[in-house]
Structure formats: structure tokens, C-alpha cells
């Protein structure tokens, strides 16, 4: 059982004349994420003229407007009304989603090569990112962190930074979550498909570029495919969707190379299962819901 988190009053801010930013909580929690889901779902259904985009984030959300069509203040009035009327997700709300197996080679040579080039921007230049994470999270060695990250699935609580990057929050109580700071100064380079970690969030970098998250490993399969040549990308250039449940699974170099070969041949498919769960049940007993989700995934 986890203690139910009470959210503070939402904070409404204008991001210039084209954006409204709503902070539901400064701290991350599934409660805050689900509250954001409830209000952005309701807003989407209203299809208000002048709303350009609705961007749910971890513990906040953002709405892009065309101020020539809607005054941002009128939108805030509407958002406050929605917040009061929908509140959070109803107790019996059922989330229909996908559970996906995402293989990761931890402590891989490629992200290792990159992290060694940026030790001057790191909290602990003498250690690797994984060794550092193990130490500050109270593990004897990096295997402890890897076990913690791969033992329970994660939910995609935000998409962004660059197209298709999934911010994933692990479905375990706070006291069992891994936390690490972001790099002191962001790197100018991160390999494509790096498994990264910052705050309490795990990500897979869709494309090569700058990044501030600690680098722990490498995924053999892409999350972004502009050419849409892989079957999982037939409908969309990015694979992850909001609320997807991802299970990061540790693999060895042999499986990494085999999966890479499938990707290169255009035959790779993620292991995906349709699933549903009640957010209320998840908050009450995460371990039970996790067991069910993994059971569905590997059935």
C-alpha cells in the first residue's frame, strides 16, 4: 500500500502569448500524472477553436494556442472549470494501453565511450554513470540498479524533448524508485538509442544529439524511424505512445546483435500486448498490477 498523495492547487502560468503552462505538482507522482491525463482528455473532447496542441507532461501539462483565435485568459478560465469538474480520474476508470518488451544492453561499449568523453560535466568524474547511480542509490554494485530498473514495468508519462522520446516512470512506490541528478552541464552528444536516466525517469534517446540524462545502456531497437520501414512504425514515425507500459529487459551482447540484425533486415517487431488496468488499483497495490501486466506481456 502507498499513501495517497494530495495534490496542491494547480498553478496556471502564461508561456508568453502562445502557451498556457499548468503545474499540477512540483513533485512527480502517478496521482499528478493521472490528474493531468483527466483534464487534458476532457480538454481534447471539447475541441476548442484556437487550441493548437495539448501536451500532457509528467506532473504538468501545456496547451499551445493561437492567440488570434482564443485569448489565453479565456482558456485558463476553461481549464480551471475543467479542473474543478473532472478533478482526477474516476475510481473505476480503466486505462486501455499496450505493454511492450523493450530490450536494453546495460553498460554497453557505445554509451560508455560517449560518457567517458564528458566526465568533466559529471558529478563523479571517477565513476561511470551506472557506478555513480549504484552508489547514490545505496547498491553494492551496478547489478543492483539494473535489477531494480528491470524488475518492474514503467509507464510513459510524457513524450517530448525530441520527437518520440518517452519519459518513463516506474510503477513502484517512491521508496523503491531509482533517482539520479541530470549531468551538471548537458552533454553535446548522446548516441541514438541510448538508455538514459534523469530524476526518476528512464528514457530512450530517439536520435543522436545533446542530452543531460545519465547514460546506462543501449537499446537495440529504435523508438523513432523517419523512414517508417519497420512494421511497428507503419502508422507513425515514433513508436511510444502516452500511457504505454514499457518493461525494460536486460539483454546480453548476443541478443543485442541478433536484434540489431533483425532491425537492419527490417523484420524486427516489438513484443506488444494489449492490456488494461485501473489507475486506482495501481495506486493501491502496484506490485499486484505489475505482476498482472508482466503476465499478460509474457503469456
Amino acid at each position: 500500500m502507498t499513501d495517497k498523495i494530495q495534490l496542491p492547487p494547480a498553478r496556471y502560468e502564461y508561456g508568453g502569448d502562445e502557451f498556457v503552462f499548468v503545474e499540477l505538482d512540483q513533485a512527480m507522482s502517478l496521482e499528478a500524472n493521472f490528474a493531468g491525463m483527466a483534464v487534458t482528455n476532457a480538454l481534447r473532447e471539447e475541441a476548442i477553436d484556437g487550441v493548437v496542441d495539448i501536451c500532457p507532461s509528467n506532473a504538468s501539462y501545456m496547451v499551445q494556442v493561437d492567440p488570434d483565435r482564443i485569448d489565453p485568459r479565456d482558456l485558463v478560465t476553461e481549464l480551471r472549470r475543467l479542473e474543478a469538474s473532472v478533478g482526477t480520474l474516476p475510481e473505476d476508470y480503466v486505462l486501455k494501453t499496450r505493454v511492450v518488451d523493450v530490450p536494453v544492453l546495460f553498460n554497453d561499449p557505445w554509451s560508455h565511450e560517449t560518457l567517458m568523453r564528458f566526465r568533466d560535466r559529471h558529478q563523479d568524474p571517477e565513476a561511470t554513470d551506472l557506478e555513480y547511480a549504484a552508489r547514490i542509490n545505496g547498491f553494492d554494485g551496478m547489478q543492483g540498479v539494473i535489477d531494480a530498473m528491470t524488475s518492474a514495468p514503467w509507464i510513459v508519462t510524457m513524450l517530448g524533448f525530441v520527437p518520440g522520446l518517452p519519459f518513463c516512470y516506474q510503477l513502484v512506490p517512491r521508496e523503491r524508485q531509482i533517482q539520479v541528478p541530470k549531468y551538471v552541464r548537458p552533454r553535446t552528444d548522446t548516441p541514438e538509442r541510448t538508455f538514459g536516466f534523469g530524476g526518476a525517469f528512464a528514457v530512450v534517446y530517439p536520435v543522436r544529439g545533446a542530452g543531460g540524462y545519465q547514460m546506462f545502456g543501449m537499446a537495440p531497437a529504435p523508438v523513432f524511424d523517419l523512414s517508417q520501414s519497420l512494421p511497428d512504425f507503419a502508422e507513425d514515425i515514433s513508436f511510444p505512445k502516452a500511457n504505454d507500459v514499457l518493461r525494460y529487459r536486460a539483454i546480453d551482447m548476443a541478443e543485442f546483435e541478433a536484434t540489431r540484425a533483425e532491425v537492419e533486415a527490417g523484420t524486427f517487431r516489438y513484443r506488444i500486448r494489449e492490456a488494461e488496468f485501473e489507475p486506482a488499483a495501481l495506486l493501491a497495490d502496484p506490485d499486484a498490477v505489475n505482476r498482472e501486466l508482466l503476465e499478460v506481456l509474457y503469456r
Binding site: 502560468e13 502564461y14 508561456g15 508568453g16 502569448d17 502562445e18 502557451f19 503552462f21 503545474e23 505538482d25 512540483q26 513533485a27 512527480m28 507522482s29 493548437v52 496542441d53 495539448i54 501536451c55 500532457p56 507532461s57 509528467n58 506532473a59 504538468s60 501539462y61 501545456m62 499551445q64 492567440p67 488570434d68 485569448d71 489565453p72 485568459r73 513524450l159 517530448g160 524533448f161 525530441v162 520527437p163 518520440g164 522520446l165 519519459f167 516512470y169 524508485q177 533517482q179 539520479v180 541528478p181 541530470k182 551538471v184 552541464r185 548537458p186 534523469g198 530524476g199 526518476a200 525517469f201 530517439p206 536520435v207 544529439g209 543531460g212 523513432f224 523517419l226 514515425i237 515514433s238
Partner: protein, 326 residues
């Protein structure tokens, strides 16, 4: 016919229209012309729709050869422009013929020039836009900047028969004075800064570093302190860290306290550094014309001012339209 020969690509020249919207929620920024006013006016001069695709060139313009009869206009930054080595006026519709060559000398003021050609640059439309987003290699001309010795397609319906000569009056051209004043709605996570730090942010002349591109401008010139707090769960332990959130276009973040970053048209759409305010949409036109080594200043304004500035720009655009009889 209907082709534009790129003799030299220039330093960083991309095809842009007014942007690709509705995909910010999955991490895709709008891209599009950084200085919207200059791009729209360039289109008007040649008789295009406001949102037709133009070329945006940074610092060093391209060298272009025409293969048919067109109208051409150059707007934005102040750079000497020539047609067949003869000077031509910017902010003016110029009639070009097959074999004519357009070239630029170094920019004198501003940072980005816009080149509109009647009919518009006819690259494939991707997700409702012709804008280039180079980070993922999508849109525009093969998702990248132009290179030497290649060919761009022009729309077939842009062949010109009349003469050029339409001019945008001086008072309707943008001000490129330095330092640029960027009107800013302070907020978002500005509570992370101390009062002194916020005052210092607004009082400092910030210098544009060499890391200034379509994703964002990194600035230097001061040091800002964060208020002390126990970091909230999930944020990370650095004082500039927040639980990853959405970044508005134009938003300002301050990693490390000493390097403000203003995000622009190719923005990263979210992340974990505290944002302290947002440059108003109209003044993105202004920062787009600031170059490395120049200074910018931020001035705190309210939402009313931001909305009024936007109406103002729209009225100026309509004035240009009337003057040009478009």
C-alpha cells in the same frame, strides 16, 4: 523551367514556411521561418500566399541561378544583394529571367535573410508543412540545409510576366538595432530564482554565444542564484532541476545559473531544467536577427502587452499588404 539552381548553399540555408503545428505533444517543434514578419513580407512582395515556402539563410547567403521568369524578393537581415553582380534593393520585388544569378555579400546587420520566389519553393509537403527540421532530417529539401550545386523545384504557377518594383517603405521594415530588447512574460518556474536573481536577469545585457541556432540561443553575461529548497521527488538534485515539463517556444531556462537558453522554432519541446519566462511571440522575430557576439536584453511585460504586440505586427503586415496592393 520551374527550377532554381543552387550554385552555392551558403552557410546554413533551409526551406521554411510558417511552421508545422499540432505535433508538439509528441516532441516535434514547429520549425518554420524564425523571423515570421520578414518571411511573410517577402512572400507578399512576390505575390505568394503568406505561408508559402521561402529560403532562410544565416550569416552567409546562397548563390542562386534562375531558369525561368520569376519575381524575387530579399528581406530580413541587411546584406548586400546582387543580381548578375549588379546591386539590387532588398525589400523590393525584382524581376528575374533565365540565367540570372542572385548572390549575397556578408551580412551588415541582422542574422537571417529571407528569399522569396514567386510560386514558392516547391518541396514536398510533410505533415502539412514545407518547413525543414534538420535534427531528425524531416521536411524541407531532404530534411537538411542546402549544399552547393543542387536543384530546388519551384511551383509551376509562379511564372512572372509583369515587372517588379514594388517596395516595402522604410518605416515598415524591422528594426535591427543592437542590443535587441526582448519583451518577456516572466513566470513558469521563475519561483526557482531568488528575487535578486530575477532582477539581475532583467538588468543584464546578455551576450549571444556561438551556440545560437534554430533550436535555441545560449547566452552569457551573468550568474543567477536559485532559491534553496529540498528538491521535489523525481526532479534530480541540482537546483536547476525540475520534474521534466513542457518548454514553450521562446521559453528561457538557466542550467547552471550562468547560461540562459532561449528556445526557438526548432525547440526541444520539454525537459528537466527550470524555465523562468517566455519571450513573446513577436520578439522571436527580433532574436532571430541577433547574431553571435551581439547583446540582448529582456524586459518584463504582461500578457496584455504581448497580445497587443501581436495585434500590432498583424496590422503592420496588413499595412504592407495595402501598400503593395496585394
Amino acid at each position: 523551367m520551374n527550377r532554381l539552381l543552387v550554385r552555392a548553399g551558403g552557410l546554413y540555408t533551409t526551406v521554411q514556411d510558417t511552421g508545422r503545428f499540432g505535433h508538439y505533444h509528441m516532441g516535434m517543434p514547429p520549425s518554420g521561418a524564425m523571423d515570421i514578419y520578414s518571411a511573410v513580407v517577402a512572400n507578399m512582395l512576390v505575390g505568394n500566399a503568406d505561408d508559402a515556402a521561402v529560403l532562410e539563410a544565416t550569416y552567409v547567403g546562397p548563390k542562386l541561378e534562375f531558369t525561368d521568369d520569376r519575381l524575387l524578393a530579399v528581406t530580413g537581415a541587411d546584406a548586400p544583394v546582387t543580381l548578375n553582380d549588379e546591386p539590387v534593393e532588398p525589400w523590393t520585388a525584382v524581376r528575374v529571367r533565365p540565367g540570372d544569378v542572385l548572390a549575397f555579400a556578408m551580412i551588415r546587420a541582422g542574422c537571417r535573410v529571407y528569399v522569396a520566389v514567386s510560386g514558392g519553393i516547391d518541396v514536398p509537403v510533410y505533415l502539412d508543412s514545407r518547413s525543414t527540421y534538420t535534427l531528425t532530417g524531416m521536411g524541407g529539401h531532404e530534411g537538411r540545409k542546402l549544399v552547393d550545386d543542387e536543384t530546388l523545384q519551384l511551383a509551376a504557377d509562379g511564372q512572372a510576366t509583369g515587372s517588379g518594383g514594388a517596395v516595402v517603405p522604410e518605416n515598415l521594415r524591422p528594426d535591427l538595432d543592437c542590443p535587441a530588447e526582448l519583451r518577456t512574460v516572466v513566470g513558469l518556474c521563475s519561483y526557482r530564482l531568488t528575487e535578486d536573481a530575477l532582477a539581475s536577469f532583467l538588468g543584464t545585457e546578455w551576450k549571444v554565444t556561438k551556440d545560437a541556432d534554430r533550436v535555441g540561443y545560449r547566452l552569457r553575461g551573468g550568474k543567477l542564484d536559485f532559491t534553496e529548497r529540498e528538491q521535489p521527488f523525481g526532479a534530480g538534485s541540482d537546483p536547476a532541476n525540475v520534474v521534466d515539463l513542457g518548454y514553450p517556444i521562446g521559453s528561457i531556462q538557466v542550467p547552471g545559473g550562468d547560461e540562459p537558453i532561449v528556445l526557438l522554432n526548432d525547440a526541444v519541446t520539454g525537459g528537466g531544467y527550470a524555465t523562468i519566462g517566455t519571450v513573446i511571440s513577436v520578439d522571436r522575430d527580433r532574436i532571430a536577427q541577433a547574431k553571435t557576439g551581439e547583446s540582448v536584453r529582456f524586459r518584463s511585460v504582461d500578457l496584455d502587452t504581448a497580445l497587443a504586440a501581436r495585434r500590432d505586427r498583424r496590422e503592420r503586415i496588413e499595412q504592407v499588404r495595402q501598400q503593395l496592393g496585394r
